[in-house]
């Protein structure tokens, strides 16, 4: 009985802080997702180019990101770049590192979506005189979006979970805040469970949003 009431008291004291930390993780996630979509789209379009010089930077980016640990990428951005004179706040470094990391996976998802669109769609768009940009914007990408929402959702959830790594560069997000609460209260089990539940709530919100988004695109 006392175990439960002291659990509630302690958690209650730290819950507002945990929610704020969770909110920060969520903000970082949203910004990183936006960054990853831009990077992923550009890299995917570059990768489908017929020119080798255009494809190469995209190939390198995807190869490098997918072949190295996320934590090392984060350390390069936050601890490494200052050596070159580029000093970023933990928040900004975190958004960039997580966004860069996710962008490589988004690129592969978008590329798969582009390959799923039949050649006839590209040709009929070209045949009425559309430019490459107009064809992409009006004909190809709207169709790609429909098929890639599920894998993009998956990647968005991964991005959210990855923000936990930013505890290593002093971003006061949910994981770091939880560790500090544990250091003060010596209740690792209680706090890690609550943190897990908060992450679960956030990933559920993301998935629900994606499901709603996908339903908006159902044709007939």
């Amino acid at each position: 009985m006392t175990r439960i009431s002291s659990f509630i008291d302690t958690i209650w004291a730290y819950l507002p802080g945990m929610i704020v930390a969770g909110w920060l993780a969520f903000q970082i996630t949203v910004l990183a997702i936006l960054l990853s979509w831009v990077l992923g789209l550009v890299a995917a379009l570059m990768k489908t180019s017929s020119h080798r010089v255009v494809r190469m930077p995209a190939d390198f980016y995807i190869w490098f990101i997918r072949g190295t640990p996320s934590l090392i990428q984060i350390f390069i951005i936050y601890f490494g770049l200052p050596q070159l004179g580029i000093r970023l706040s933990p928040f900004v470094a975190g958004v960039i590192a997580i966004g860069l990391c996710s962008g490589a996976y988004v690129a592969e998802v978008v590329r798969g979506g582009l390959l799923a669109i039949s050649k006839g769609q590209w040709e009929s768009a070209r045949a009425v005189g559309m430019s490459y940009a107009l064809m992409m914007r009006r004909i190809i990408l709207p169709q790609v979006v429909r098929v890639i929402i599920p894998p993009l959702t998956n990647e968005a959830v991964n991005t959210l979970k990855n923000t936990s790594l930013l505890s290593a560069i002093t971003v006061m997000e949910l994981t770091l805040f939880t560790q500090m609460a544990i250091a003060a209260t010596f209740r690792p089990f209680d706090f890690y469970i609550v943190a897990a539940l908060l992450y679960l709530a956030l990933t559920t919100v993301l998935s629900r949003f994606a499901a709603w988004w996908e339903s908006k695109y159902q044709i007939s």
């Binding site: 006839g120 070209r126 559309m130 004909i139 169709q143 044709i219």
Partner: protein
């Protein structure tokens, strides 16, 4: 007066020579059918005409505008010039290629609105007239996937007509259709022909070639082996290759 003129067009894919010097002119208001065996290069010829493929050499003159393909191949022809040219050349494909995320009406107004910058209400007006013409007014808000093949192909024709092209290219547009739907599409093409549309038609429909098109060209191994008034090319072919081809397609059991 010549609407489209092709002179000595050459096109290869790697070591495969697909077009070996094609010279052809299509007059204003003329319907020209192209027949020939599978793989003889008929589609490639149409795709070269609207620059979906780039020939290595040859010239094309399209209503007075001339294009040297050696320049196009070298990238000396600007992408925007090719796009402008394509807006005046309508193309209809064997596989319809309607845009599945747009309704029938949206398919038809898409290019006028976004390529030519026509005001939307004007484009809708034109589109409604075209849909009436192809007999699909009641399908204006339908998704392409809910239409039959014949209906989709008629929408595709309306979509091409919406750009008010100077010439229409048809690439075996009835080959993917169930037999009972072939007629509705051919009737529409016949109607266009009677209205004076300039048409270049790759087809396996010998009836259409003979009765609707003014001239017929027999394509053989990347070259025009025989060309002339449809009745004589199809009725009394001079070239032995044409005779053999016609025997094969007309006398099949």
């Amino acid at each position: 007066m010549s609407e489209l003129e092709l002179a000595d067009l050459h096109k290869s894919f790697g070591s495969l020579k697909v077009l070996r010097g094609v010279t052809l002119s299509v007059h204003k208001g003329e319907v020209l059918s192209i027949i020939g065996a599978s793989g003889s290069g008929k589609s490639t010829l149409l795709r070269c005409v609207n620059l979906l493929e780039t020939p290595e050499s040859g010239r094309m003159e399209f209503f007075g505008q001339s294009l040297d393909f050696a320049d196009v191949a070298c990238g000396r022809t600007r992408e925007s010039d090719k796009e402008r040219l394509r807006t005046k050349i309508g193309m209809v494909f064997q596989s319809f290629n309607l845009w599945p995320h747009l309704t029938v009406l949206e398919n038809v107004i898409e290019a006028p609105v976004h390529v030519t910058g026509m005001p939307k209400d004007e484009a809708i007006d034109t589109a409604e007239k075209l849909l009436a013409k192809v007999g699909l007014s009641e399908k204006r808000n339908a998704w392409p996937s809910t239409l039959s093949g014949g209906q989709q192909q008629r929408v595709a024709i309306a979509r091409a007509l919406a750009m008010q092209p100077r010439i229409m290219l048809f690439d075996e547009v009835t080959s993917a259709l169930d037999p009972e739907m072939v007629g509705e599409v051919l009737d529409l093409m016949k109607q266009l022909a009677e209205e004076g549309m300039t048409m270049l038609v790759v087809t396996h429909e010998m009836g259409f070639a003979r009765h609707v098109s003014h001239r017929t060209a027999f394509f053989h191994k990347g070259e025009i082996a025989e060309i002339g008034p449809s009745r004589s090319v199809l009725g009394s072919p001079q070239n032995p290759e044409t005779q053999q081809f016609l025997n094969r397609v007309l006398n099949h059991i």
